[in-house]
Amino acid sequence: MSKMTIQTEGETHVVVTRRFAASPEALYRAHTEPTIIQKWMLGPEGMTMPMCISEARPGGKIRFEWTDGKGGGFYLTGEYLALEPYSRIVHVERMHLPGMPGPTPDNHVETRFDPDGAGTLMTMRMTLPDAQTRAAMLATGMEHGMEASYVRMESMLVR
């Protein structure tokens, strides 16, 4: 079953949807409580998140640090803008990637958790400052996911 969708919308949005077999409250906690975030928000295979700050209140700090255990890694900083337990989270985030002079431009993210039958429909709507930034984010995502994904994709495509 394909539970997730991801698509670009207009010039500056990326929208992700995903269905979960759990309550909006459980989803909301999994997105805001550091000890839970550290267990699943890991991205490419082999990454861990040794540091996770998530101050779930308006103006609260966000800082996630990922490492591959071999000296490689990157981190994300941000702030919470609005929280409505257990239905909506609005925050901004930016990636700090090795070899880049500064952080990526702010990504404004609204995450909604709506009851869907016995479970929850999550809708994450990302808004980038402009079309060029979105294009850059798409390409940057490709670059920082390369360690693991490039090799995987290459073997897949060359076959």
Binding site: F20, G145, V158
Partner: protein, 116 residues
Amino acid sequence: MVAVKAHKLDAVFSALSDPTRRAILSRLARGEATVMELAEPFDMTQPAISRHLKVLEGAGLIARRSEGAKRPCRLANAGVEAIDQWLAMMKGALARNYDRLDEILAVKSANRKETT
């Protein structure tokens, strides 16, 4: 499955590593454009833009019509595929995240049932 050679991927990634070239692709995603039109929003000369276009063309990300002297550019199918590939890759990383989250939520829900 369409076979894409490794050196081809290198060219694609290398072409995408430059912010001007990403901006050019972003512009072409909205439709065909001439070198003059592409040079306008950037503080660059037409020869400089032409050099970027040559890299993008070499990577198979754009195609140019040969009619007339203007040779308008458009996004090539490979360019569209490269963006789709990125989406698929991001989808892969997110999908793994959410699969992990599914497991955590299932365990939490089972624990709650035990304690009540």
